[in-house]
């Protein structure tokens, strides 16, 4: 915030001078050690199969811990203005909104109509299977879910 110290053609500062906040060396070294240890853990964990979602969650938790450590100590958020933390956090919040809301679409397609979940096996002839076997088409149309299984999605 601006201080009540107006100086008309302010050149050489005679206002409050800047005094840095110097972080002690051990904190940097401990931060670094934490990062190295966490890297080893995350690489090690990737060799153990815990199920894909557990592996993903673990990797993300470790990455987030590392990121927090970097932000707090290397980037001085721990000792800096709280506002800077808020600014940085806002980017994460809005990124979260972006990913989450997009996922509402991409992972919920076909909720009410199984056909929408599928993708054409071949873009240039999306209804190819039905054409190949016209006699089966009415049945396929009645039960579209299985008819055009594109194999595109798990």
């Amino acid at each position: 915030m601006a201080h009540a110290d107006p100086h008309d053609h302010g050149h050489h500062s005679h206002g409050p001078d800047h005094v840095p906040h110097v972080t002690p060396l051990p904190i940097y070294l401990k931060t670094f050690a934490t990062l190295v240890v966490l890297t080893v853990i995350t690489v090690g964990a990737s060799y153990i199969n815990l199920g894909t979602s557990v592996n993903l969650a673990l990797a993300l938790i470790i990455a987030t811990t590392k990121a927090c450590v970097v932000a707090a100590f290397f980037m001085h958020l721990a000792s800096d203005h709280k506002f800077h933390t808020a600014v940085f956090a806002s980017s994460i919040v809005f990124l979260g909104i972006f990913v989450a809301f997009t996922m509402f679409d991409t992972s919920a397609r076909g909720q009410f109509d199984a056909q929408k979940k599928n993708r054409p096996a071949q873009m240039t002839d999306p209804f190819a299977k039905a054409t190949a076997a016209p006699s089966a088409a009415p049945a396929a149309a009645a039960a579209p879910a299985g008819a055009t299984k594109a194999g595109a999605k798990p």
């Binding site: 109509d113 929408k116 993708r119 054409p120 873009m123 002839d125 209804f127 579209p144």
Partner: protein
Amino acid sequence: MSQGATTKTPTATTAQPAGTAAPQEAQYTIQPDEGYWLPRQNGAYSEQFDWAWSFYIWVCVIFFVIVIGPMTYFAFKYKRKSETEKTSPIDHHLQLEIVWTAIPTALLMYMFWVGFKLYADTQIAPNDAMTVQVTGAMYNWKFQYPDGTVTQELELPKDRPVKLVLSSVDTIHSFFVPEFRLKADVVPNLYTTMWFHPTKETDTAVQCAEYCGNGHSTMYSRVLVMPSGDAGAEGTFENWLANGGEKSSLSPLALGTKKYGQLCKSCHTLDGSKSVGPSFKGLFGKTESLADGSTVTVDENYIKESIVNPGAKIVQGYQNQMPSMAYLKDKDIEGIITFIKEQK
């Protein structure tokens, strides 16, 4: 049909002047209503739609009056009379602020509910709906019925629910039938669906509502709703479907002329000028040099091959752009050959 609407059938950029030797100009109309706003309604939930619309219009009018009425009144009443006039010191009023936040919020929630209910009804097709597969391409529509019949226009039975499954082979299109109050984008590598339940016989236009290139504004098709009934009776949808999408049997030339208008016209001219593909004028019997250096005489077999497998022999100077029309019946191909023979 109240008024004849004339537009060009789908043409590419290099459109020939409207109305040249084209066999028959397609005519499309959106059936109008007596009101100012929407076209005629047709379908099970169009009524619900029109109710929602009227509700919205009245909310709109009331709010407009609430805002603009006082503004106009104040502008005259408090018009400045002298430069030194003093003004009201009131700069906030909490109760008022709460009222004009809360009431609109409640009303808006109700509007959401109205829109959502309508949406829910339009999204879930009944199980007994007839499924028609719709393929959008630049710049035409193709409809495939459960029995394998393929047409360029959508003909439907009255009073039966219909579900459309849509996909595109090139870019995004959008299938828009104003009379049904419906629209669904036609997206490549994706299936979208829509359903409706026509309650009136009609002849109305399908328009493409998602910009798709130079032919976008002429990417029309037609929705014809016909009476539903016995397959033996003339003029019913079932009879039409049994005849392979024809009202009655046509002569080969008439059929070929019709197919030309539906399928070939956008790329093949009749006046000898070069378009996306070679002109049909004097084509039959001609010897064409191919892109690979060989030559071929245009005869029945070559035309048939070019329709079924267009990429096999490309005439020099043209791109391999034509989609395969292997779905055409022999009768149709025969008709097109007859038509080309006629173009001397």
